[in-house]
Amino acid sequence: MEKNIEIRLSGEGGQGLILAGVILASAALIDGKNAAQSQYYGPESRGGISKSEVVISTGDIIYPEVADPDLVLVLSQVACGPYTKDIRRDDAYVIFDANTVKEFPKLEHGRIYKLPFTMTAHDKLGKPFIANIIALGTIVGLTNVVSREAIEQAVLARVPKGTEELNKTALSEGFELAKTIK
């Protein structure tokens, strides 16, 4: 049986992690795959630890949450400790935001990268909140877990009207960031 691809997007409330997870899962369905998306969030609408998990499979998904992570994205300092503890694969991607994370956990496994998602969102696109879409571009660029056509279609279906071009640019910025470490 082929292993499921298990992805965790972590950070804090307000960073659009749940939306990013929903978009990634929708893209998997567009590609004809199966997906389960789950989340943890607190009562706060901004701040507070948050995560969104996506399991993608060509078959049935038995356990719907991440049991053995293949990729962990960390967009905030608070998420560093709790959401990187269970990384057991040496080939798992662990991607930290280079700007918001100041102290990095010591990890025994995983391929560790630090990328400027929030800086790119802020400086290049002038919209700090779009770091989630840039990160999605990078995840797809690195792993090809879904097709580029599917992720673009899924992004455009879920973002507010009038922001389509901005989101497409954000995805491309993410693809470019992936090239820098591939």
């Binding site: 929903v22 899962a25 369905l29 199966n34 943890y40 607190g42 009562p43 998904i61």
Partner: protein
């Protein structure tokens, strides 16, 4: 067929199931983690010719759906722990007056206000005994987003067919999780409507079973259609009016309990996974059963013969399934997101033939497959008994 796969949350899937089953009236008071059910129905139900009301509180919501059902409409409410507590008295009224309706309880961390965004399976016993007195209860606990849709339809069907309120027990994990769902076409799933009276209005009695095609299930007239229909929370005669006659009181209460016993087998549902040659049994339900199934696969890959018995209908409890399991396994593990509730039934039905152990947590995180795997290995190696 070319049917489109949708990415729906469990709560959205419940909305689709209720609409498919013919829901006509929803009353509720929004509460995390069930609010998306009210939200979805507020948008969709009017388009199906139905009514959605946000009531002043949970007690009134339960009262409203009972009223709507007595008026002939398929009705539903949805809530979570604190609201489930508030609804109990009216829920008992529905049980006693055999009012078909569906009460969705998306379980969150408790007790009291607890952890609104955290998952739990803490209301299993409340579903059974939350309202006072001896009463029939049906509670159904699906474990995936697509299954929520089909089990919502089945909840309505059981409720309508047997004149019994049904509790749909979801938990925060499957309610908020999104999975792939293909909406069923019309006619693909069975949809059942309640029995209507065949006697003339002046001869109708709401609890009379002498003129029913289904033994022990009295046909139901809709309020406002010319039939006299009295309901009360007091012990009542077959015409619905109160009585203090002990003989009649006992007869009527025994009838609704006998009705459950008679049709119990039609309400039960469980899944067996790798049980044929199992030496270790895992009994699970709801989201926790997903971790249990994963654990069975891992244990099997290591040569340990584990299997899972998953309850989909929790109440009435299918005693025979555990009895059978206890005959053949060395021990039974019951993972639950509470401090041990359904395990009490498992222990009772195992009758000492197999030892029963819980895997429990109340830290508002889903049970991880590795916890179940480790528990099984510990027990196998006799490190801790």
């Amino acid at each position: 067929m070319g049917k489109k796969a949708l990415l729906l949350s469990g709560n959205e899937s419940c909305v689709e199931g209720a609409l498919y089953a013919g829901l006509q009236f929803y009353a509720g008071y929004p509460i995390t983690p069930s609010s998306e059910i009210a939200e979805g129905l507020s948008r969709k139900l009017p388009k199906y010719g139905g009514v959605m009301i946000q009531m002043e509180d949970e007690i009134a919501s339960m009262g409203a759906i009972i009223g709507a059902s007595l008026a002939g409409k398929k009705s539903m409410t949805a809530t979570s722990g604190p609201g489930f507590s508030l609804k109990q008295e009216n829920f008992g009224f529905a049980c006693f007056n055999e009012v078909p309706c569906v009460l969705v309880n998306v379980m969150r961390g408790g007790p009291s206000t607890g952890a609104p965004t955290g998952p739990s399976q803490g209301d299993v016993m409340q579903a059974r005994w939350g309202t006072h007195g001896d009463h029939p209860v049906v509670a159904i606990a699906p474990n995936s987003v697509p299954e929520i849709l089909t089990e919502t339809v089945r909840s309505f069907n059981i409720s309508e067919k047997y004149r019994v309120p049904v509790i749909l027990l979801l938990d925060e994990i499957i309610a908020h999780m999104r999975e792939r769902v293909i909406l069923p076409e019309k006619g693909e799933l069975e949809v059942i409507d309640r029995l209507k009276p065949t006697v003339p209005p002046d001869q109708y009695k709401p609890f009379d079973i002498s003129n029913t095609p289904m033994p022990l299930v009295p046909p139901m007239a809709a309020y406002g259609t010319g039939y006299r229909f009295h309901v009360t929370g007091l012990n009542h005669r077959t015409d619905g009016f109160p009585t203090n006659n002990g003989e009649l009181i006992e007869k009527e209460l025994l009838r609704i309990m006998q009705k459950m016993a008679m049709y119990k087998k039609n309400m039960l549902k469980h899944e067996e996974y790798m049980l044929d040659d199992a030496e270790i049994g895992i009994v699970a339900y709801g989201s926790t059963s997903r971790a249990a199934k994963y654990a069975v696969n891992v244990l099997r890959s290591e040569g340990i013969k584990a299997g899972m018995l998953r309850y989909i209908t929790i109440w009435p409890f299918e005693e025979e399934a555990v009895e059978k399991l206890a005959e053949k396994v060395k021990f039974i593990v019951v993972p639950e997101l509470n401090l041990g509730q359904l395990i009490l039934e498992v222990e009772r039905c195992a009758r000492g033939k197999a030892s029963v152990y819980g895997v429990n947590r109340v830290n508002i995180e889903i049970i991880h497959p590795h916890e179940i795997i480790e528990k099984v290995k510990e027990l196998l190696h006799g490190i801790r008994v």
